[in-house]
Symmetry: C2
């Protein structure tokens, strides 16, 4: 039996129409042509998608499980998205809810290389407590201004400081100048206070540009970078992970969509499969619409892949929610608080220190 990837779709349909709709999706996502016109018996048996199960969820949607030939994907990250959801993404009655890989495909997507242990090592963060992260913003500031901000955040004892995902290679703070300035600022803080904070620059542009950017970061002693796989292209993430084995990668969810690919799949599985060591996502209760259950599943899924990707809840978290979120996510997590710290203005370093101390001192209720 040839190996198949199992794709789970949530399909809005009636009980009368769902069987035909499920078969249509199985064809759409495999051979995309009338089965009657296929004369090749092997293709009919081994390549055409097969409907494996249809379950009525009782809410007007059906969960449809379809087996897709692993040979149509092999180890190509773009093909995995293409065969799972390329055309069906254009049909608004379908959501891609989950993917389950057969062994031969899973072996080609081994997941994060560094994961939680590698990220803890980069930040000198002991096991048993969550990691902490904040963000450099707003974009439009100059490189020296961003570096000064990085220093103020670093004095508060964070593990990671990432670029705002809007920071690219713009004139206001070109990548090379920004990275050199921020790295120097953090080295100065480390020399003065002993507090080592890992800077995470954001990559942009095409694969060639991103490769140059990663090399430049490496030359500054930086061990972690960030990109948005849905903007950069998932194949670019894969290519960078392969080209820079010592580098750890944060995945930003920009352009990840809310409605059509389930977040627990896109962010909780696909980004880690493609090599992300940490996955940023908008947590429940913030300014995005993910439910607590979605966030819990996303985090659990990410941790289970490869070396274990670190879930990074974010998206409008205030300091007041630290304890709640730590209990919810547990210590194998990185809390990312950006705007809420920056809002402390002159008190930024003190506010950051309150954040990092709260995380270090937290007694976990083991809710996660």
């Amino acid at each position: 039996m040839p190996a198949r990837i199992e794709a789970v779709y949530l399909v809005r349909a009636t009980a009368e129409s769902i069987a035909a709709r499920a078969r249509a999706i199985a064809v759409e996502q495999s051979v995309e042509m009338p089965l009657s016109a296929i004369e090749d018996g092997r293709v009919l048996r081994e390549v055409v998608g097969e409907v494996r199960d249809i379950a009525d969820r009782g809410d007007g949607c059906f969960a449809v499980r379809i087996g897709l030939a692993a040979e149509t994907v092999e180890g190509d990250a773009g093909q995995l998205l293409n065969m799972a959801f390329g055309n069906s993404s254009l049909q608004d009655d379908v959501v891609l809810a989950d993917l389950v890989l057969p062994e031969e495909t899973a072996a080609l997507f081994p997941g994060p290389r560094h994961g939680v242990a590698g990220l803890r090592a980069r930040a000198g963060a002991p096991r048993g407590r969550a990691l902490t992260c904040s963000a450099l913003k707003p974009q439009g500031m100059t490189a020296p201004a961003l570096a000064a901000l990085a220093a103020r955040l670093a004095r508060g004892g964070l593990d990671f400081i990432k670029d705002d995902h809007g920071l690219a290679d713009q004139r206001a703070a070109p990548y090379a100048r920004r990275v050199a300035a921020c790295a120097a600022a953090l080295r100065a803080v480390a020399a003065e206070t002993g507090r080592v904070v890992a800077y995470v620059p954001s990559l942009s542009g095409d694969l060639d540009a991103m490769r140059r950017q990663v090399a430049l970061a490496r030359d500054e002693g930086i061990g972690t970078v960030m990109l948005a796989p849905m903007i950069a292209g998932v194949t670019s993430l894969r290519a960078l992970v392969a080209a820079f084995p010592d580098m750890a990668f944060f995945a930003h969810p920009a352009l990840g969509g809310a409605a059509r690919i389930a977040p627990e799949l896109l962010i909780g599985k696909l980004f880690p499969w493609f090599g992300a060591d940490a996955v940023i996502f908008p947590t429940h209760g913030g300014r995005f619409g993910y439910s607590a259950e979605t966030c819990r599943r996303l985090a659990a899924s990410a941790r289970g892949i490869g070396a274990g990707a670190v879930p990074v809840p974010a998206g409008g978290i205030s300091l007041a929610r630290t304890a709640e979120l730590l209990d919810f996510y547990g210590p194998e997590t990185m809390l990312l608080i950006g705007g809420s710290l920056l809002d402390a203005k002159a008190g930024l370093t003190a506010e950051t220190e309150r954040f990092t101390r709260a995380v270090a001192a937290h007694a976990y209720r083991q809710e996660a």
Copy 2:
């Protein structure tokens, strides 16, 4: 006044909440932090997004126009998506409906280089009639079998034969073998019948792989290739367009629906801005949900960019709809019929010839 990109969002909201919601999107898509924490006056004046207009559409949705600083995008295709819809794509009450570029940004996205004239030249197709295209499928067939199919389609007098977008670099028909076989088959048909048909291979993998694939196509005398920008990454499309100035590019819409970007924007504007010479999209009345009005706007928009991208309606078109669709789209169009021709089985060449003759003989009602 610094230049701004105007982004139009459709936002589901109440009359009471829309003003605050619009301001929140303007912040989300620019500085993504509390404005109260921004001390840099230039950033506040020139970088923070500004709400320009809110129009009640009367259907529970508001059209919100937001000015985004062009300096945050410059000429980076990925940044254009990121700043227009990166984070808001994660909020399910927002659709990105349109983008209007200021002059300085438009100059950096000059659009298709070859366009309709270049594609007509490749196919030897006279002005005044629509172009024709079919697709090689199903995937899973061997390279020689696909080449034999290409020859049978070519004898029917098509302008273009493209790979199914599911064809990548799989074992069943590896790219290099497939392209060589199909190109040879079409050369043989041309030598025998005088019918010149342009083969359009589908690119896959990362940017390096796609560059190798384009070079290989060029070595086979091929002048047109296809990729799916939402899977390959829009920056990869831009990089390939820049690296291969003699090559024309088809954009496939796969994964284009996942991010809730209006099709007339994503396919009708963004793909052409990034250099696509032809844009494939699921036409109205087929197995996808686009309306006739959406298709008309998409086509008109694509034609107006750069050298003029050719709209390529597709997605389950039957031969019976040829006249209707030609009247609807007019002659500056490429009709793509795949499965419906293939369903003729032994009569494939004759059915293809019926298609190409119908297109050549059509008297346009000038509906378009």
